[in-house]
Point group: C2
Chain length 243, copies 2
């Protein structure tokens, strides 16, 4: 059982079924799958399924509730998303702070995150059930994130805090790591070749060689790239010889 | 001129115009407005405008290019979004690391972020123009973020790094701050009232009072709330007196 099984995203009174599908997709990309719906206007819906793309399994197991009380049953901590914050105050945090806080709860803590209606958000009564409010820092002149976009931001923060691994595919296999002495050989070869072709003045080599070292030290070369550079230098020397 | 004017989001070969509109909206919510499009399949489009919602100004000034070379002209640093990473390696960072790096560039550095096609991403040729790749940490079994969702995550990281202020509305005005002595008065009142109603044993007051202190110290009370608690205690004492 994953820690994420205890994280429940609750969409309250969603108007557009497409947003429910897009929210399911956003959750699944980040490894979350515990979706609850309170009084969705149109659901189930072909549009929700279409926008869910490959996340129809999340949609299929989504639980529909008649009211919020039923949706948060069994939850220990309730967070509410709010763009407006014109209500009675409870602590307001940004998504990162919220997830950092959640990460410090014991593993068996059931957490609910409430997402309000597209145009009107959560009602005061719904906000009063939240122990914390989450506000996404936004452009003060245009702060209304699309519902699925807000879900994506929250889900992303969960992923970043709990499991930020980048899946780097075959990159590691393709690159053969080199040793420091390989770089030294390369720099010697540069010095020798650049002198041979008249680009480097052996009386004043320091600055140029230092710049080249800086450049290639930074470039994190692999063995294949070192070999390519040796090849270029050999070709340059030969070209000079033949001219 | 804002630092964000130098941050260019480039959507390459977008298939669905709705995603262009949703991307414009995602950018604007985070204060970004510099949108470029390379060979969009259908654009301009009523669907793009509809999904942009209130961000049609960003859409209206979006620049359409015939090729990527034109779109990145004048850019100093080019980042590419990539979900697959099966190509020749350049440094791969997550969105947070990317934005932290960008934040360290001089203010006049022009930065491009490339977002590839919905199904096939960026081509190898396009990826080879990137100095850095950005990968959103994702569910390895389902890593394909919707295009606008990826734009939202990046834009959110820009906002979080450059200007993470939460707009807290009238919350501050509604809460009158109290002083430490107000809390002491409250705790004295608790002790006195709870003794009067027989809930507190004056011979053993320590633990209960310490717990109450802990609770209300944590609760960050404002003046109105302190008054409410005094009122409740008075009512409790009176109730006891009348019984």
């Amino acid at each position: 059982m994953s820690r994420f099984d205890n994280i429940r995203f609750i969409l309250v009174g969603t108007t557009h079924p497409g947003n429910i599908g897009a929210a399911a997709r956003a959750m699944k990309t980040m490894g979350l799958s515990n979706l609850h719906l309170v009084e969705p206007l149109h659901y189930p819906s072909a549009e929700a399924t279409a926008r869910a793309s490959g996340a129809d399994d999340v949609l299929a197991k989504a639980v529909v509730h008649k009211d919020l009380v039923s949706a948060i049953e069994g939850c220990n901590k309730v967070f509410g998303m709010s763009a407006r914050l014109r209500h009675l105050p409870v602590p307001v945090v940004d998504p990162r702070q919220a997830v950092e806080q959640i990460q410090q709860y014991p593993d068996d803590t059931n957490v609910a995150i409430l997402f309000g209606r597209e145009h009107s958000g959560l009602t005061n009564d719904e906000l009063d059930r939240c122990q914390h409010l989450i506000n996404v820092p936004a452009n003060p002149d245009y702060s209304s994130l699309n519902l699925a976009a807000a879900v994506q931001v929250l889900a992303y923060e969960f992923k970043m805090s709990f499991d930020p691994t980048i899946v780097v595919g075959r990159v590691g296999e393709e690159r053969e790591v080199i040793e420091a002495k390989d770089l030294e050989h390369l720099y010697q070869h540069f010095e020798q070749s650049l002198t041979a072709i008249g680009f480097l003045d052996p009386q004043q080599p320091k600055n140029l060689m230092r710049r080249l070292r800086r450049l290639f030290n930074r470039a994190d070369l692999d063995r294949n790239e070192v070999q390519i550079l040796h090849g270029i230098l050999r070709a340059a020397e030969n070209g000079r010889g033949e001219s």
